[in-house]
């Protein structure tokens, strides 16, 4: 590994490690305003379209942040996180359609399934480093997608349609107003941010960053590297799975192409990398900018199949990777 390798990443995370004591006051006020704005949003913007857009921002920000826990803090770049999204979506959907489980229980059941799967994948694959690990996660993603397409029990390529029910908290369906969906997504995001915040400030976070900077050095000072990589993977998979279950309940239809594709795995990383990898706010900033951007281009160039959003995403991703590895958040911090 060339010298200098970890150095820039260390810079990227440096601002996060040091507790910003000087601006804590302003930071708290800003956070409070942000939270109040998020809570009040559905009461100000009453169109379902706006709510839907922000729900998607929350969902993808949460997914990107969950990926960030594994890739940003712990340095294990997974390009197959759609596997856990699909696991969550399918677990809750299959439990509901086949055995009549309550969707909330389905969401909770998806988490241990995805965590178990993450350990099965992580245990062998964490022996791989860098590119090898990244390509292995792509390969696993492709394998899982093919298996799902050919597994009739979970609907195969046709996918699964969830029953349409009357609006109620118990049924996890709120079609007329959408705002309960909004709050569920917000709660998931805040939960994920809180866990990340907690990780950053505890031994877990220091271990993760030590592993990211130099696994051998981390091992030599007594950090059980393999175990902590698995812990990062488990936390990450748990949140992504919950996001997948939420998606299934929100859209009420899922198939391998919508919940397991490589493009979803890549979107998740892309938001985090553009926003600022290894930071608490980067993934949220990335999602808040890029998801509406994609929506906007779809309106501008709708129906032409021109993929303008991907054009911008790809260009941004390369630009950020080359010129500003700390992401947009890093740009703000300067």
């Amino acid at each position: 590994m060339p010298p200098g390798e970890g150095v820039e990443v260390a810079d990227a995370g440096a601002g996060v490690v040091a507790p910003p004591s000087a601006r804590t006051g302003w930071g708290t006020i800003f956070l409070a305003i942000l939270l109040v704005a998020a809570l009040a949003f559905p009461w100000v913007f009453r169109l379902p379209y706006h709510r839907d857009l922000v729900i998607r921002v929350f969902l993808y920000a949460m997914l990107a942040q969950a990926w960030n826990i594994l890739a940003g803090y712990c340095g294990q770049i997974s390009l197959g996180h759609a596997v856990f999204f699909g696991t969550g979506a399918y677990t809750s959907a299959v439990l509901q359609t086949t055995w009549g489980w309550n969707p909330w229980l389905g969401l909770l059941a998806g988490v241990p399934v995805a965590v178990a799967l993450s350990q099965v994948i992580g245990y062998p694959c964490f022996r791989l480093r860098g590119h090898y690990f990244a390509i292995a996660t792509i390969a696993i993603g492709e394998i899982v997608q093919t298996l799902a397409i050919n597994w009739e029990f979970i609907g195969g390529a046709r996918g699964l349609t969830l029953p349409f029910q009357k609006d109620s908290l118990l049924a996890f369906q709120f079609h007329t107003s959408k705002y309960p969906y909004y709050y569920v997504a917000l709660v998931l995001l805040v939960l994920c941010l809180l866990v990340s915040w907690w990780i950053e400030r505890t031994r877990l976070g220091y271990y993760f960053r030590a592993i990211r900077e130099d696994p051998e050095a981390a091992q030599s000072v007594g950090i059980p590297v393999a175990r902590y990589k698995l812990i990062a993977m488990a936390i990450s998979a748990a949140f992504v799975s919950a996001g997948g279950s939420f998606y299934a309940q929100y859209v009420l239809y899922l198939d391998p192409d919508s919940v397991l594709p490589l493009s979803l795995s890549i979107l998740i990383c892309l938001l985090a990398v553009v926003g600022g990898v290894g930071t608490l706010w980067g993934p949220l900033v990335g999602a808040a900018l890029l998801i509406p951007l994609s929506e906007f281009t779809r309106i501008q160039f709708g129906g032409t199949g021109r993929a303008v959003d991907l054009l911008i995403y790809g260009g941004l991703l390369t630009t950020v990777a080359v010129f500003q590895p700390a992401g947009l958040v890093g740009l703000l911090r300067r």
């Binding site: 060339p2 010298p3 200098g4 390798e5 970890g6 820039e8 990443v9 990227a12 890739a71 340095g75 770049i77 062998p124 694959c125 022996r127 791989l128 860098g130 590119h131 090898y132 990244a134 390509i135 292995a136 792509i138 390969a139 696993i140 492709e142 394998i143 093919t146 298996l147 397409i149 050919n150 597994w151 009739e152 490589l262 890549i266 990383c269 892309l270 990398v273 990898v277 199949g305 021109r306 993929a307 303008v308 959003d309 991907l310 054009l311 995403y313 790809g314 260009g315 941004l316 991703l317 390369t318 630009t319 950020v320 990777a321 080359v322 010129f323 590895p325």
Partner: protein, 294 residues
Amino acid sequence: MSIFTIPSSEVLIQGILSGILMGFVYALIAAGLSLIFGLMEIVNFAHGEFLMLSMYTTFWAYALFALDPLLSVPLSAGVLFLLGWLTYRGIIRRILGGPMLAQIFATFGLGIFLRAAAQFLWTPDFRQVSKAWVQGPVRILGVSVGLPQAVASVACLAAFGMLYWFITRTETGFALEATAQDRQAAALMGINTERMFALGWGIGAACVGVAGAFLANFFYVFPHVGSLFALIAYVTVALGGFGSIPGSLVAGVIIGVIEVLGGLLIAPAFKYVAVFVLYLVVVLVRPQGLFGKF
């Protein structure tokens, strides 16, 4: 899900032969990737999109100037060489020695960008060279295979041979090899390593330029065409050993055959699953691949 099915021996022989033929094409694509990796330990995640662009180059040369794909091989190779060179000068040079994350996402982003650009410019339509010089079946060893496939296969093998000759027998090839082994030492010996890196990217991309021109003879051309070939190329390079050029040839053939056998013995839907499982087994059991150096 179907269980194992046993095909007739005739089908099996036919399958294996076409697998070997396709394997030579995979080998050339993978050789480009492997050359770049051997030089600077960077995986070109835009390799599939490079292939896609070479196929479009060939297609447009045919559609606009009625140039047969066989004739546009030098054109496609030249365009791709330039693209590879520019990619190095514009992007890769800046991330050498940078964090792993930047190394992965710089080329990944380029791939997304190129794919979206192709879709933006040329729409997602599937296009095809309809009246190529070579078409129809041909009989080899008593079984029939597509003539375009056979031509592509032989040509890619020849191109592979030339690449190998270039690297192992010419002055510039030695310089490339020296740079791959130790860039500081190579620089001390008066080798312009910066030039070698750019050249490596140019040649690596030109490999897919050649492969893409022949592929366009019998494969649909569309913006996402590269993704699958790229995934296969990663597996090929891993199996052959990252950085090993001869390894790519052996691995390409093995993967071509496994792909066909996976399709024949298990189910067509699972042929790529077989290839990806192979990747996982190789990197976990023998991370250096068949011919890897470390």
